[in-house]
Amino acid sequence: MSPPATALDGQRLMLLNEIAEFNAAYAHCIDDDRLEQWPDFFVEDCEYQIIPRENVDLGLPAAIVFCDNRGMLIDRVVALRKANIYAAHYSRHVLGFPVLLEAGQAAIRSQTSYVLLQTRMDGETRVFSAGKYVDWMVRTNGLLRLKQRSVVFDTHRIDSLLVTPI
């Protein structure tokens, strides 16, 4: 990452705030357990993956979650609700301010750090995952939506299991 090449202007400020607002809503959607709405943050033809930084650094493609359409996101939520067995927990995402990488017509690219805290029902809160979103957003009817979100996580020794999206 380089220092910003131009002074902040109104247009970039607006876009950065729009991305930050989008990300905040995304995080609260998950943290408030409104997972059925989580796929709405994506366009139909999307890609979402959760991949260890270790693999990204090695140039290896395997992700622990890999969805390449919105239907697969819905399947993840249905499985979480109906099928998978896991310890009940709260999620709490704490997001950094986005960095704008590209602000084109076809692609708005940005990345944003996150820390995801997990609190199990014994009341103890742990850092479950730290990492970053690497995003490609597009406009649908004028509104930002995710075309692609790669969750690149530093915390590559996962505590027990991962079921809730990041």
């Binding site: 493609p61 395997a62 622990i64 969805c67 020794r157 996962i158």
Partner: protein
């Protein structure tokens, strides 16, 4: 050391819960099993391509490094400097181009084989200090381990008394390893999962066919009814190793119909069941010239080899402490896979691993057993599903705990010292 009561009274069909909790048992396991006459999986040769390649990992809780030297030979050594015991190799993997592994603390330098090559100020300076005149580099190398490979899987052993690798695994297990590793593989990535439980709980879990359809509810929830699959479990002679195989659904008449069939079954069985929006995660492309769609092969003491649809992986068991176990998943495909096949494997990976639809619960099960057996002095498990003995083969799977008893039979024979040398 006196054998703990928990060990002395445990039998394959009923083990004392303290085996999951006593630090003394854990220490004894490191000595008798992980540093004993067994072979522990540590790497794929595909991770060690070219001279100077290395990988740091563990055998049990002992840090080890596996290397490839300039002549292409593999070596293994304990990652512990002969001087002060510091880790010599600090990176998880990489390549040492000059052939030297140098401890950062005092720059003792070792070659890829683990021989000590140099000690700074060995002769002192201007007549002061230095090592004694009779200091012999050859006497201060790293602790070397035996290395053996089977079709690109790399194993280490601490013990000269370990039988040859293929004898240790037995012919039935070797045949299944050769089936998967039938041509050069390519690593697709790693996933690491920390289980808050003893390593033996996971070892039981991977040999437990009984829990499959009961804990992992993904298939039944999505109405994927698969009645006509043939399955079998094969346990090695002394009980240590196990392989479950499940064939493709025979009534589909071919894998190309599998996905369509699965969808139709989902639709047909939709009384209360969910629909999968995208069943491509289940898609299966035969690639081994047989009907096996699922293989879970547990090789004592440290690895599970799996083929679930087209996901291929090794799961290395790292024993972090008596109550914590790391599972390292190494996903791979074949070197000749095209881009579409790689993408297909990566979609299939949704099924497995720490976030896998049909595997994530294993972490939860291990943790529940660790928590539930805390403080359970004198409590013993009851492992008698499908009988009380260990038989070489069961079919179908899912109605017995034969391989779990096999694990305990092998484990207890090593821990109680009733077998010193494996076959």
């Amino acid at each position: 050391m006196r054998m703990s009561d928990a060990l002395a009274t445990s039998i394959p069909r009923s083990v004392d819960a303290r085996l999951y909790h006593e630090p003394a048992v854990f220490a004894e396991e490191q000595r008798r099993i992980f540093r004993g006459p067994v072979w522990s999986y540590v790497a794929l040769e595909a991770e060690l391509e070219g001279a100077g390649a290395f990988k740091s990992t563990f055998v049990g809780d002992t840090p080890v490094v596996v290397t490839r030297d300039a002549d292409g030979a593999l070596h293994g050594w304990v990652n512990r400097c002969a001087h002060k015991g510091a880790l010599v190799c600090r990176a998880s993997r990489g390549r040492v181009n000059d052939g030297n592994f140098v401890c950062v603390y005092h720059q003792w330098a070792y070659d890829a084989q683990g021989n000590l090559r140099g000690v700074p100020f060995r002769r002192g300076l201007k007549g002061e200090g230095g090592m004694a005149k009779d200091f012999d580099l050859a006497q201060h190398g790293l602790q070397k381990l035996r290395v053996s490979t089977l079709c690109g899987m790399v194993f280490l052993s601490f013990e000269v008394k370990a039988p040859p690798l293929e004898a240790f695994l037995g012919e039935a297990m070797c045949r299944l390893v050769r089936r998967i590793f039938n041509r050069p593989v390519r690593v697709l990535g790693y996933a690491r999962q920390n289980m808050r439980g003893n390593w033996k709980l996971y070892s039981e879990n991977s040999r437990d066919g009984y829990h499959g359809g009961l804990l992992h509810l993904f298939y039944p929830t999505f109405g994927i009814y698969r009645p006509s699959q043939e399955s079998a479990g094969v346990v090695s002679e002394e009980g240590f190793h196990n392989a479950f195989t499940v064939s493709k659904p025979s009534h589909t008449g071919g894998y190309e119909n599998y996905q369509v069939e699965a969808n139709r079954e989902i639709a047909g069985a939709s009384g209360g069941t969910q629909m999968l929006r995208d069943p491509s995660v289940l898609a299966f492309r035969p690639e081994f010239g047989d009907d096996i769609a699922l293989l879970i092969q547990s090789l004592f003491p440290s690895v599970v080899v799996q083929q679930i649809q087209n996901t291929l992986a090794t799961r290395q068991i790292v024993t972090r402490s008596v109550a914590e176990t790391e599972l390292v998943w190494t996903y791979f495909g074949f070197a000749d896979d095209d881009e579409a096949m790689t993408r297909h494997r990566i979609r299939n990976i949704n099924l497995v691993g720490p976030a896998g639809y049909i595997s994530m619960e294993d972490g939860e099960a291990v943790e529940l057993c660790q928590k539930g057996t805390a403080g359970a002095e004198g409590w013993r498990s009851f492992v008698e599903m499908g009988g009380a003995d260990v038989v070489p083969r069961v079919a179908p799977i899912g109605l017995d705990e034969n391989a779990v008893r096999g694990f305990w039979k092998g484990y207890l024979s090593l821990m109680k010292g009733t077998i010193e040398v494996l076959p």
